[in-house]
Symmetry: D2
């Protein structure tokens, strides 16, 4: 088998199917989509791509498939799904996904159309692997779909370790080798052997700490919010066709934004790291419930209202009120005396981690440096904030 | 300055005082006392010593002293205390400390006598460093004593990272560089800057996970309990003088045990890893409150009772009912809006971690393989265990 | 001081000048120029950028400046030069530098014009740092210019370690901390203390092994040769202005190539990793001296001749006959009994490494897969190769 | 299969034979024999043992056996030999081996007697593995004996990487995973595939650099020479039986030396790191050929002569004139166009490395600090040294 050298897993062996899938345009494109999109604006070394991550997920899936001793057809399908699981991501990954969903009505995990329309489908068919089954697996459905997309999937295992390696932040170091050795099948479902509770908990903890220090870093959130507004604009104005938009690379998108006058300033700000700043950065307890986890339309309306009160241009105010993070790992199942139980029921840590997630939650309002003060005051007014939201 | 190459901190620079202290017998002895005593019976690579750990603690103290910009005299004292903080440990560190305390009436952090009686004192005096102040610092008292022995001290920072490096377990990787950069002085007391809550939490988490997977591994607990019984015997029988006993190295103690007939079998079992096994391994909820955290005398009495019921030799039963672990890091103070607060009050994780510690608590009863069954039944009987205590 | 987290050096402290320089467009552009250009086509994790490398070089320069205890003005200049040393690089760094030199008549280390024309100059002037002196330092001239660009400079130290970290290849791991501690000034020149010969040799060795396994990997050489031909075409045809060309990012160049019909196929081949293959891959001893280290014009003429003999399209043949690598590190000076000597005179390894470089030298001829055979035969003919050049 | 966590190879899977072998006294003894004996006096973290190294060698042998797809019986034998290959080492490994050889007439690789006399033999017989074949393999003889003891064996691969990990010195990092993947069988002999020359060279280089910085560090050489003299004394005086001596642990030997008056001072000096110093440290070109690589008897005679001239006690002078290191890796065979060739014939680096070994060679004469000057002068006299041998 061909091998590829990886910075995280050392040598990765490629089955012939994987080699053929790698040679397709949708997979090669992932070389130009950063795994952590704008996090590199904070952690300059975070330039790893969805391509190398996809190889890592494939590698862990191969190990899991060996550990579970699966029959060949299922093993082939799971490995293929692991390798292609990210092809549906748009430029800058999660940071444009809501704009794409609004205009395409499709989540990035729905990749059936991509398999059907591109070489990926041809390769899978040549290898006798069912396209629909692969698409379902990427979406977490079908036999062992949870291995690729579930509460403790190989996707998560790879990205926690890889993101830690590339940011230099030590919190993502989970013991993935032990977790995969702890995989068991009970009635066709994936569970974790009960002597590995600490390993499973470590994955929850790693994500919680990586959220706090990396994934939800305010600089990356600001850049992401700017990308969302600019992407919305070019999609709404018909500058880019939604299907083509979804298949741009990161820098191709920056090019599109730079070439369209209404988004050119955002492009320049992103490219040269002259981002909006935080006018407001409010804790959960200071934000009225009605302003938490806002819809896109509501967000835009409130932005206009804040801009109006502040006497600022509407494009100068970006409101970013995220949902409360779920803790998917808590749904992972652990074998206790031979019976699967939810990790969340078994581990007293989960409640603490959920509280922790609530603690680091922030509502942000971003604006250019010259209008920060007025936007802050307008925000307190419009959103009825309880405390001072200065960052 | 002389430098020493360390596997964890790379180059460590030695001030002249440190060089002179290193050349003393009490410091050189620490080359022969393993940091993790019997954990190497589980993790074969865990052979690092209290000597290299002491260098690491000294190094982190030097960094902290620079970060806090302390005056020279205090800086000298803190660095010296950091370097010598472990000289009071007996052979196998924590695993003989209770036997030593019973016979010497002294905790390993009380090192005043050692400073006074050995070259350590001479060196300190030559350098104009007050012996009593150093001894107080090692005990966590006096100006900035908490830096060396406190809720988030440099001792803890070094051992979490070092133990992770040498066991290969990834959970101890805290961001000590960031934590030390976050040190601030408020009214003469050590606090953590408030943008570093995640780093402080990570130290709590690291210890909790290291407890679960390394420090409280049952094989190491069994070996430790066997060492305690054997140490007690040679001390009680006057085979070894308590003061001399406390200054043995790990293997010198094994030699002492091997040369005394009543402890020779224990020595051979420890040396060749033919340990007792778990007759009982009971969860917290299955053990009546009265049998949790037992005194030494009560433990011995219960052991005899269990042996009697089981028809076994008294030396064939070892009962090990630990206290519930406190969470010292929760007392660390974090700056919140300029005011120090307890980390435990600030971080929602702490309650979860305390629950977690309770979850991994186990009462153990250990015995030779041939009497496991009868000792297990006798244990259920004598300790009125609620559930099946088979491991 | 502000700190940045780096994957290689952990925390990097930024002086105010460095912060201001980082905020300029020429420095931010380096976020989009990969340090190893097309090596990521072989080592998928090699996506680190000249931006993070520049931070690393700055960091090592700061350490060296402290070690040598330099006066402030010189220290400021050296740190600034270290930070900006790569701003002159075009897209894909070394892989377009010859095309740029042909059209601009300027080497990437000549950055005086960039300092004068961009914000970089403004910032330097505000900080009272002389532009010309910085430009000279980047070019290896002036006081301690060799620290930034010399036989054992901090540039080399950073990239060897960083490239090893990101490719996962273990050969680049030199002991840069020890090398910098070994820096001494003798009559104003930089030398290495004589107990550090092994550290200095390790840098030579690291580069030799990295050449063999990473830097001169044939896939990257093929991609580089294709980039050179395509760049030449757009420059020669006036599609891109040379000055503007030199300031493109990697992916902006791919965009330019894709948008111009004569280079569109090359762009697509590079983007989707459908590269030319090796028609010939000839050892040094099989290539007549006259065909080693060819000028650009001679190369193009021979390519046409080979294409002609092979009956292939001229654009289907790429000839790549590199020069023999010099061994710059051998000129580094080591203190021997207080006298500086060339490392090459002191170390018996250097001759072996030079022979090694000759051993891995290869002349390559690249072509599309469908004409490989005929191009190979034509190459043997035209270049009078002594042996079979099949790879 | 049972797994063990290793700090270098992560999880190591144990076949049942390996588990049974590990449970024997000769294997458990290796927990108390340091891999790098007295190197910990220079690199305080170098406390790893021959036990964990043996596990590592076993692990790499398992991988090699899989790579070569060997039949079961041969695979079992090779894995067993890899695991037990170090049981013949005396206390402090290489540093007492010459004393043991003088008195036992047996090299540490001759382990037939140990297999026959201990549980090791019983276990091997139970598993149907031939004792003599295992003993031959450990000695590098028989089918694929070179895998365990040969120019590029798994022993070397493990120790280079492990010693680098534990000293923190970066030079030992070879790409063992790639080397093992490059293993091929040609006519029953082990060769390296020809695209892996750089990996094979890196092992030579690693050893050369580790020699210079770690293995031949003067402090460790001094301690080793002191151990040799003291060991000789207790063996010559009949204080310890040679067979029993060879099975002591490191610290048991220190105990034996401390308890015998004529060696008590050496024991105290070693234990408290109060070593002899270098009276002379002479380069190869300064030492007459007749004084290079001296026999034991000649060494003792010259020591007495030097002591006599210096007016010092005979025990105060230790002469240490090592042989010139061979370069065993150069005999490794590489496939070139399908034909095995010696790496030394293929790689131009080997000559350079041999010259390098000659360059770092030193003759040492060691003495207590108070007689250094007179011993140095006497040494120049007696050994007719050409230059000043002050270190």
């Amino acid at each position: 088998m061909t091998t590829i050298k990886d910075s995280v897993h050392d040598y990765i062996e490629l089955h012939p199917t994987a080699e053929a899938l790698l040679d397709t345009e949708p997979m090669q494109r992932l070389r130009y989509v950063r795994q952590l999109s704008t996090v590199q604006l904070v952690y300059p070394a975070a330039n790893h791509t969805r391509f190398e991550h996809s190889l890592g997920v494939y590698h862990l899936a191969s190990r899991a498939v060996d550990q579970l001793d699966l029959e060949d057809a299922l093993a082939d399908r799971l490995r293929a799904a692991a390798l292609v699981h990210d092809v549906g991501h748009g430029p800058f990954g999660h940071q444009t996904e809501r704009a794409i969903e609004r205009h395409l009505g499709r989540h990035h995990d729905e990749i059936g159309w991509l398999l059907a329309e591109t070489e990926l489908g041809t390769v899978l068919e040549e290898q006798g692997i069912d396209l629909d089954a692969v698409a379902a697996t990427v979406d977490g459905r079908g036999p062992l779909g949870e291995l690729v997309s579930g509460p403790l999937d190989v996707d998560r295992m790879d990205y926690l370790v890889r993101d830690a390696h590339h940011t230099g932040v030590p919190y993502g170091t989970i013991d993935h080798a032990r977790l995969i050795r702890a995989f068991r099948l009970v009635d066709g479902e994936l569970v974790i052997a009960d002597d590995s509770v600490a390993s499973a908990e470590s994955a929850l903890i790693a994500r919680t700490l990586m959220n706090a220090t990396v994934y939800r870093h305010h600089v990356s959130r600001i850049a992401g919010a700017m990308l969302d507004r600019a992407s919305e604009r070019v999609l709404a104005d018909g500058v880019a066709d939604p299907d083509a938009f979804a298949r741009l690379t990161d820098e191709e998108l920056l090019g599109v934004l730079a070439d369209y006058e209404p988004t050119a300033e955002f492009a320049s700000r992103l490219r040269n790291r002259r981002l909006y700043k935080r006018a407001a950065w409010a804790r959960r307890e200071d934000v009225p419930e009605t302003f938490v986890d806002l819809s896109y339309d509501r967000t835009r309306a409130l932005e206009r209202e804040i801009a109006d009160v502040a006497g600022a241009d509407p494009s100068a105010v970006i409101l970013d009120s995220p949902g409360t993070s779920s803790s998917p790992e808590s749904r992972a199942r652990i074998l206790v005396d031979g019976e699967p139980q939810r990790l969340g029921d078994r581990s007293p840590l989960v409640a603490g981690l959920d509280a922790c997630a609530r603690e680091i939650w922030r509502l942000g309002v971003y604006a250019p440096p010259d209008v920060l003060e007025s936007v802050r005051e307008a925000t307190v007014d419009v959103l009825e904030l309880a405390g001072d939201p200065a960052p």
